[in-house]
């Protein structure tokens, strides 16, 4: 049973996986329009998933470093802790 935070992070991971794999495919198939659209679509989903997580929980990227007027980048737990997974 995943917590809300785990679910939101899981969404980021799924979107990121799609984007990363599409990027690798496009590295060797730069003319493939379908792959490019797939990439754009999933990049948007990824950005939304990151924004949602950062809104509700903690920073993932530079955009999420300031939370409620406080510096949250290094003051929240780091990814190698069990609590963050």
């Amino acid at each position: 049973m995943m917590t809300e935070k785990q679910k939101a992070m899981d969404k980021i991971r799924r979107c990121a996986f799609a984007v990363d794999e599409a990027r690798l495919f496009l590295d060797t198939h730069p003319m493939n329009k379908e792959a490019m659209e797939f990439y754009q679509k999933h990049l948007e989903l990824y950005n939304k998933a990151v924004a949602d997580f950062e809104n509700r929980f903690a920073p993932v990227s530079a955009s999420g470093a300031v939370r409620n007027g406080k510096w949250a980048w290094a003051t929240t737990a780091w990814p190698w802790e069990r609590s963050e997974n």
Partner: protein, 173 residues
């Protein structure tokens, strides 16, 4: 240049510390076919790569291997929490502990620290790519729990270069 996302590429949540396992898994971090070797190999080879497609692949996979390095390190970190003196001695982890305690240090299970000697960046594209084949295909020896049968060198590497990389993580602890 690189930016950092504050997340692991895939979650690591180990319930029970196990220094005996850590002793072996550390090769996936600092060993000859580990993640540091992989990332440095690809990232160094990309400069002299002969075309944009290969530069793209070496850049992007090299970057991803850094994320794998982080996951293996997280595994090692979680495997070595709250150890008693007895556990440290009896597990054989003591030979690492004496020099690094429960810090994460890039070394092979044999005790050889990570070295750039584990990879080559020759400036010759074929030599570099063949070295990449040799290094990446050795996941078959390191992860028998995933690979039921040995796969041909070429198809494994082809899969890698086409982006199939579920193989970076050791089996469930």
């Amino acid at each position: 240049m690189w930016s950092y996302q504050k997340r692991l590429q895939y979650p690591v949540n180990i319930k029970k510390p196990n220094p005996t396992a850590a002793k072996i898994i550390i090769s996936q971090l600092g060993g000859p076919d580990g993640e540091i070797a992989a990332s440095l190999r690809y990232l160094n080879q990309r400069y002299s790569a002969p075309c944009k497609e290969v530069q793209g692949i070496l850049n992007d996979i090299g970057t991803e291997e850094l994320a794998h390095m982080e996951m293996v390190s997280a595994i090692l970190y979680q495997l070595t929490r709250n150890l008693s003196e007895k556990e440290i001695k009896q597990s054989g982890f003591d030979t690492y502990f004496v020099d690094h305690t429960t810090g994460v240090y890039p070394i092979a299970a044999s005790g050889v620290p990570f070295t750039a000697s584990y990879f080559q960046s020759s400036g010759d594209a074929i030599a570099d790519l063949v070295e990449d084949l040799a290094a990446d295909a050795t996941i078959t020896k390191e992860q028998p729990t995933f690979q039921k049968a040995r796969k041909p060198l070429i198809s494994l590497t082809f899969r890698h270069f086409e982006g199939f990389r579920k193989n970076g993580i050791p089996a469930i602890i």
